[in-house]
């Protein structure tokens, strides 16, 4: 297990409310090996972004880690003191988010914002030269001039390149990419994705890709974790999850995604809507939408079943 860069075990993140806590992440386990790309897939409100933030203890109040374990590079993240956390954030685990425009500070030049991370974590280097080399690396045209630009002077794709440059500034061992291309146009999406894959090969970093887009997952991830209502309902190698999915939710998602190669045969959506995490159904959280649901599913939350060594599913009736 310690070969893994990241090991998350039974992680729960709750949000305090006046009444019952909201169980946003509910006993989630997954791992990321060094240099590997792992996807966390799910729809809005399934807990994928909260899981990502919890990895560096960035979940803000009233959220709190209610249980479980996070080990990164052999260290216990939940036991770290503030100084250790600061050292890890940005330097070892870096993030890029969906909306580059809201992640960049509008009143500082982008070069300055990239330099900030360098000054914090890599004292003593030639900052300006390094910023230019980073911007070159992420394919921002004309970096000497662009480092003086303010975020609003750049297009969405260029802003995301700046975010990636910031994330890479400290050569992290893992990049958490939370819907990194969702806000971008398709042709720009493809460029950014291609850039991430190339940088990963060059730098040997791991990527935790958080997305709702199964097409994206098929192209870049090696292993996939499918989340629903705060739980990982199925996990395994990408070929098995997308090719031989066992959980009715994964299957439903696959059937609901329109395909480029698809014709006019009627798509089958999943009935109902994603549940509100504050009002989760009893038993298996997917049972109200599940075509296979039986009495047992309403009463008992299924535990994870091992299909093959690395393909696991949480369903009473996956067979």
């Amino acid at each position: 297990m310690e070969d893994n860069l990241l090991n998350v075990d039974q992680l729960s993140v709750f949000f305090r409310t006046r009444t019952e806590p909201v169980r946003a992440v509910n006993g989630v386990s997954f791992s990321v090996a060094p240099g590997e790309t792992v996807a966390l897939v799910g729809e809005s409100g399934c807990g994928k972004s909260v899981t990502a933030l919890a990895l560096t203890r960035l979940v803000a109040k009233p959220g709190y880690v209610a249980g479980g374990n996070i080990r990164f590079a052999g260290r216990d993240v939940l036991a770290m003191d503030p100084a250790q956390l600061r050292q890890m954030r940005g330097a070892e685990i870096a993030y890029i988010f969906q909306e580059p425009a809201t992640s960049l500070n509008p009143v500082f030049r982008v070069g300055w914002q990239i330099a900030e991370a360098l000054k914090l974590h890599r004292a003593g280097i030639a900052v300006r030269a390094e910023v230019i080399s980073l911007l070159n690396r992420v394919g921002l045209p004309d970096p000497e001039r662009r480092l003086n630009a303010y975020p609003h002077e750049l297009s969405g794709g260029m802003q995301q390149r700046v975010m990636i440059a910031m994330a890479l500034a400290c050569r992290p061992r893992m990049l958490v990419a939370d819907e990194p291309t969702t806000a971008l146009d398709v042709t720009i999406q493809a460029q950014i994705l291609d850039l991430l894959v190339r940088l990963q090969e060059e730098l040997g970093m791991a990527i935790l890709l958080i997305t709702h887009n199964l097409g994206l997952v098929a192209g870049v991830a090696r292993r996939v974790n499918v989340m629903y209502a705060g739980r990982i309902v199925e996990r395994g190698p990408v070929e098995q999850i997308l090719g031989q999915s066992a959980h009715p939710y994964t299957r439903g998602l696959m059937a609901a995604v329109p395909r480029l190669s698809g014709g006019k045969t009627r798509m089958i959506g999943i009935p109902g809507a994603v549940p509100n995490p504050a009002r989760l159904p009893t038993g298996c959280p997917f049972h109200p939408r599940c075509p296979k649901a039986q009495a047992l599913c309403r009463q008992e939350d299924p535990i994870e079943t091992i299909i093959t060594e690395d393909h696991r599913v949480r369903c009473h009736f996956w067979k």
Partner: protein, 324 residues
């Protein structure tokens, strides 16, 4: 005669300091009765402006729009009022297009009241029927938008668009704000309604796979102009404009991804940025990003040329490019 005929339409916005944004730059298209026409393109290509212009929601500088053989752009007063009953819109963001302080039943009823259809009791009954038609419980009429999920809200948006029994609906990215599992429900609902009521759609979207599922014909827009038009199967089987080819290759797709992974190949990616409407270049607007661009492309705007039955492309080299 087509239901809707647009000829050489131009929409320009002032950008201040004497600058001008050419959002729609000489677009011609036709939509037949009961037909579903897809309009695809990336942000800023002018697809939403075109949809708005057809419904007279933005002023048009030049060109003609004919609907049921009437000149839409010169309609006034009662005729324009009547046009608004025949043509409606479904918006992208069901959160933004419903007033949070008005119960959804009242929001739908308002359309009927404005057009003086029926008395109060009849309108109430009609609202209940409409809610049922779009798959919502009629008793939800008294509820407010925040009580609904995104998918349900989009159903309300559809009910409101259908309230006046239109024959033509502009649907501007109707499912792109929705979760994947809900998207299919809404698309199927729109298909069923189209069949039951003989609706024609101008379906504006950036998701090519959704367009493939929904539409009979597809128009690809780039920098304010339609660069390729074809039947849906022809467009996906043999895209002839380099931009269409680039779009298709850029879409992340499950089968394509798995196949590429198995074969260990990396896809071709179009470089460069999506142009802003104010930064148009001379010649073909796509030439700065086009892998096949020649001197001719930098100098001269290509005309529309036929590359197959009902299939046109605005590329100097259409039909002569290597197949994808």
């Amino acid at each position: 005669m087509s239901l809707l005929e647009i000829n050489n339409l131009h929409v320009r916005f002032s950008a201040g300091h004497g600058h001008e944004v050419r959002a729609v730059n000489g677009v011609s298209l036709a939509v037949e009765q009961g037909e579903s026409v897809g309009l695809v393109g990336e942000s800023g290509c002018g697809k939403s402006t075109l949809g708005n212009a057809v419904l007279r929601l933005v002023p048009v500088q030049a060109g003609t729009v004919r609907f049921e053989d009437q000149d839409v752009l010169t309609l006034a007063h009662r005729d324009l009022f009547h046009y608004r009953r025949r043509s409606q819109m479904i918006f992208q963001d069901p959160y933004g297009s419903l007033n949070p302080r008005i119960a959804i039943g009242a929001a739908i009823e308002e359309c009927l009241a404005v057009h003086r259809l029926g008395n109060r009791a009849e309108r109430k009954r009609r609202v209940r029927d409409l809610l049922q038609t779009v798959g919502l419980d009629p008793d939800y009429a008294a509820r407010y938008p925040h009580e609904f999920s995104g998918g349900q809200r989009q159903r309300v948006g559809i009910a409101r668009a259908l309230a006046l029994d239109p024959v033509f609906v502009v649907a501007d990215e109707p499912v792109s704000a929705l979760d994947v599992s809900v998207q299919a429900q809404i698309l199927n609902l729109m298909k069923d309604l189209q069949q039951a009521r003989g609706l024609a759609y101008l379906f504006i979207a950036h998701d090519l796979a959704v367009v493939r599922y929904m539409c009979d014909r597809v128009l690809v827009m780039y920098a304010g102009a339609i660069v390729e038009a074809a039947g849906v199967d022809a467009l996906f089987a043999c895209p002839s404009h380099p931009y269409t080819q680039a779009l298709l290759s850029a879409v992340p797709d499950v089968e394509k991804g798995l196949r590429a992974r198995a074969a260990g190949v990396r896809r071709e990616i179009v470089q460069g940025e999506v142009p802003t409407a104010s930064s148009l270049v001379a010649g073909c607007p796509f030439h700065p990003r086009c892998p096949y661009a020649m001197d001719l492309c930098r100098a001269q705007l290509p005309d529309e040329r036929a590359v197959g039955p009902g299939h046109t492309s605005r590329c100097h080299f259409a039909g002569k490019l290597p197949p994808t």
